[in-house]
Subunit: 139 residues, 2 copies
Amino acid sequence: MPTPHYGQPRYRVIADELRERISSGAIPPGALLPTESALTAEFRASRGTIRQAIAILRDEHMVATEHGRGTYASPFWLNTSLEGGESETRHRQVAAGPDLAALFAVDVGTTVVERETVRRMHGVVCEVVRTYRPLRPGQ
Amino acid sequence: MPTPHYGQPRYRVIADELRERISSGAIPPGALLPTESALTAEFRASRGTIRQAIAILRDEHMVATEHGRGTYASPFWLNTSLEGGESETRHRQVAAGPDLAALFAVDVGTTVVERETVRRMHGVVCEVVRTYRPLRPGQ
DNA sequence: AGAAATTTGTCCGTATGTATC
DNA sequence: AGATACATACGGACAAATTTC
């Protein structure tokens, strides 16, 4: 078969189809996707094309792949919501989420210090920098 | 020739090398990277491998590719990620929570880029810096 | 414990489509 | 119109991690 890619490229079409299956629950969260070879048979596409489609979903954090095992449909994660600020730089104490707690090797909920700097260009916020440090550095 | 990939895969090594050139300024921001065929010749790798390396940098927003023109070094993350001690920096895309959405004046859930740098002293995490930027800063 | 099968990871080479200069 | 360069797609081969027998 030649390689006509009019309109949407095939790998994107395949990615859309797989995304739809995950979103609709046809592939429940945590479940394994069909193997790459199974997908090549189903979509009549080469393995490279299939892997390109899966790479899209991986970038979107829709799936997670493990070497030798397969590709899982990954459950969505919750984003930590902290209140916003308008000043240039402010400090406050916040409870460490699981991510920060894991990084600092402390219990979840441990107080850490956050410094938030909001940088604007022509009045438009272009960058937000948040620096976290433990209350007792080194301990 | 067989395909021995001991240690780091070649595309990752190539991506590291190109990232270093951009970070160090050897490839100035906004400049065109060498063409894929030039990189093919330089690294003695196939185009697929070169493109895989470039895809990594594209995911990190270190470069931007324009169809038919070439791949540019993006001034987006021009920095300073150099440091003496032990630190790891990674990039990823996250959905903006209410706080970030308010700061950037975008809808909640809008994709923003997060760069997270974890600094360690003697193996102990002492600081976590998270920088958020919108996907399109003007570029 | 070990071997085989399964599955994803990496790499190559080639061909062709599409956009830009 | 031609040249250049990136995008898409195919096929094959071998490596590495996991599971299964």
